[in-house]
Amino acid sequence: MNIFKSLKRNKVAMVGFGILFLLVIIAIFGPYLYDGSPWKMVQRPFLPPFQDSKFPLGTDTLGRDVLAGLIHGARISLLVGLISTAIALLIGIPLGAYAGYYGGWVDEVLMRFTEIFQTVPSFALAVVLVAIFEPTVYSITGAIAIVSWPPVARLVRGEFLSLRSQEYVLAAKLNGQTNRNIILKEILPNSLSPIIVLASLMVASAILLESSLSFLGLGDPEIMSWGYMIGAAKTVLRQAWWLSFIPGVAIAVTVLSLNLLGEGLNEALNPKLSGNREN
């Protein structure tokens, strides 16, 4: 099957993919091209956008370049989003796989454990975790990962529950394959599509979560992020709307493009939805 072919046919998903690709390029190369610290006070404070060609998006309350902040913020937002999602997958997939594959008391124990995390509101838990461990980029990434793995575990468990009695799995068992082999090589590859879709949406919600934490002043104080920019500008919303508006748009566009991509992937990976049955 060819995911890319069917993805390419989905124009909306391609728009999402295009924006995201651009953001990744900016996040990787932007800070080199647009060098200098985003914390540097370079012009008079409260310079409105489109007035000085050197600082096209204006300056903030302390005269720091908004564009520089935006570019440096892209890197941190994407990095936190991707890494925390990766960690969440690393926790959620094995837990869900074991629970679903073995069933019985293993399932009971692992699912009760998962429910502990699911019953606590995830944002509140993230705030508490970051506050306890002092806000650094590591503690923030960790906290986001810890609050976002339970849905992964539940999803993977569901997939494994339904796949474990499939004929090819029974055949593998009869074949004398080890449980580990069956989990990794037989069932997991077949349950990847919903995981990929979920992961793309998780990156989006991780970015939102990071921004919310920074907005509340729980961001890494050394790192310029979009959430920080909005949080720092909220008291001057009525004098300098652009300070909240511009990073707000950046967050919205990023999250939207991830959602579009996720939707597209969902259609491409799900044969029932894609209408593409020849493979």
């Binding site: 610290s37 914390w39 540097k40 006070m41 404070p45 309350t61 302390l62 005269g63 506050a131 002092e134 806000p135 002043g217 104080p221 050394e222 720092a232 008291t235 001057v236 009525r238 004098q239």
Partner: protein, 517 residues
């Protein structure tokens, strides 16, 4: 030529306005924002800013102070110091009554200072250590005998430091549990009416007030509005007439002051003169080196911080003593913004780039931004910093435990170096557990000696000599990095007249204020 004419005209303006000044009109209600809600109105026991703001209108001190910190009569009509500086004789005003109708006499003064405040007010207790005895020679005369002359004595009698308490209510009771704490009884221009917790505090005109014709206002309401943005809106919509200094975010101040009908003043902070500085840990790391600390002084762009963060209110601090505090030495050398000099000092000491921890003060936006400015300033001269963020409790804890490299604070000066300055620099004041003492760990025996002599030197010229020497030495040593003398503008509706008329500002403001019809 034009300029001269303008100058002449301006010189006459005050006269002109006097000629046309209206007579105060009686009546009216005033609405004030209060933030946070005070824990109590019992001004002698609680030094919280808002307790002082409300309670200062219910209670009174023996004196009031003008902007130059000169004492004026309040409950005392006159005072005299003996030749040797050790005996003070106070004459009290006759015909003053408490809110419950009982007369105010010298017995109340002796009780308030010697018994009650000595027990419940730690700051006054430190000064009372210099007092040998307090006695009433007749109903309206009180005599203080001092162990040695104590220069700051004359600055102890504003209502926040030494409020007069009713003896007939408190004597023989547990001061902290007395029911009168919830229904305070003073001699002040306003009487306590009602306190709806979480909503408002209501004071009403004292009809039996001892100053004829005062107060002009009928009612004062303090409204509890916990959110800064809502306070701004309440002022804009006219629900609030007065925003005491510090009750809205600095970034909102320019917008509010530009409103029609908004008046602004920075007067009324002269007694407190809030002095902001960076704590520098003198014990360990690069900050233990004097040259490093001096480099910090040269690295900071304090003018920028003043304009970007404080809307140009306030003043760059020269040294440990504020310019409005007694014995300020104006001829101290300046630490101007000079990155080159800072770099040279760092090179001379051989600074190896060890990062220093910079801890923000969790007191809101302005301080957060200020931390970022300082970080930028320090990095420009090559000082590596690591930001540490914390909450209020954690910040108190870390300063008290000396677990920091650089952090922020601001403390009141209380008009006299012996009351508000020496506590930060005396090596005898180094003790873990308090964020208000010599938390930086500065030790200089010579300075210790001078400070101790200066507190009891007599007369004032001798004190001035010593304080000049002290300031010169401390400015050279840079035990802490002075930032600014802060000014918190009071924003009020222009219909309110004669609002701030003392050195403690809004804390005893409403007795003489009136509303223009």
């Amino acid at each position: 030529m034009k300029r001269i004419i303008m100058g002449v005209l301006l010189a006459f303006l005050p006269f002109a306005s006097n000629v046309y000044a209206e007579d105060p009109t009686d009546g009216g209600t005033i609405n004030v924002a209060v933030q946070p809600e005070p824990p109590s109105l019992m001004i002698g026991m609680y030094s919280n800013a808002t307790t002082q703001q409300v309670g200062g209108n219910i209670f009174e001190g023996l004196m009031r102070y003008d902007k130059d910190l000169k004492p004026h009569p309040a409950l005392a009509t006159s005072w005299e110091n003996s030749e040797d500086g050790k005996t003070w004789t106070f004459k009290l005003k006759e015909g003053v009554v408490w809110h419950d109708g009982k007369p105010f006499t010298s017995a109340d003064v002796v009780f308030s200072i010697d018994k009650m405040l000595r027990e419940v007010n730690a700051r006054l207790r430190t000064s009372l250590a210099f007092v040998e005895s307090i006695s009433a020679t007749d109903d309206y005369t009180v005599v203080f005998k001092l162990k040695e002359p104590f220069g700051p004595f004359i600055r102890l009698f504003e209502v926040g430091t030494t409020p007069m308490m009713p003896k007939h209510i408190y004597e023989g009771t547990d001061f902290k549990l007395n029911p009168a704490n919830h229904h305070p009884i003073g001699t002040g221009p306003f009487v306590f009416k009602e306190w709806k917790k979480g909503s408002f505090i209501h004071l009403a005109k004292n009809e039996k007030y001892h100053v004829k014709g005062l107060p002009h206002l009928d009612n004062i309401y303090w409204h509890v509005i916990p959110d800064a943005a809502s306070r701004s809106v309440a002022f804009e919509t006219g629900k609030i007439d007065v925003l005491p200094g510090g009750s809205v975010e600095n970034f909102d101040v320019p917008r509010l002051t530009e409103l029609d009908n908004a008046c602004v003043t920075t007067d009324g902070w002269e007694f407190f003169s809030p002095h902001a500085w960076l704590w520098l840990n003198n014990r360990q790391g690069p900050t233990a080196d004097k040259r490093f600390r001096q480099a910090i002084m040269y690295a900071m762009d304090r003018e920028f911080a003043k304009s970007a963060l404080w809307n140009n209110f306030g003043k760059i601090a020269k040294g440990p003593v504020g310019s409005k505090t007694a014995f300020f030495n104006s001829s101290l050398p300046d630490y101007e913004h000079n990155p080159e000099k800072a770099k040279a000092l760092l090179k001379e000491m051989g600074y190896d780039g060890t990062p220093v921890r910079l801890m923000a003060m969790p007191y809101g936006e302005t301080w957060q931004r200020w931390t970022e400015v300082i970080k930028q300033n320090l990095e420009e001269v090559g000082i590596k910093t690591k930001l540490v963020s914390t909450d209020v409790a954690g910040w108190n804890q870390k300063i008290s435990d000396w677990d920091y490299d650089i952090s922020f604070t601001y403390l009141y000066q209380y008009g006299d170096p012996a009351l508000g300055v020496s506590r930060t620099y005396l090596s005898t004041n180094i003790a873990k557990g308090s964020p208000w003492n010599n938390a930086e760990g500065y030790k200089n025996e010579q300075v210790d000696k001078w400070f101790n002599e200066a507190a009891t030197a007599f007369p004032d010229t001798k004190r001035a000599d010593l304080y000049n020497k002290i300031q010169k030495q401390i400015v050279e040593d840079v035990p802490v990095a002075w930032l600014m003398e802060l000014e918190f503008p009071t924003i009020y509706n222009c219909k309110v007249q004669n609002l701030i008329d003392s050195a403690i500002g809004i804390n005893d403001a409403f007795g003489t204020a009136w509303i223009k019809k």
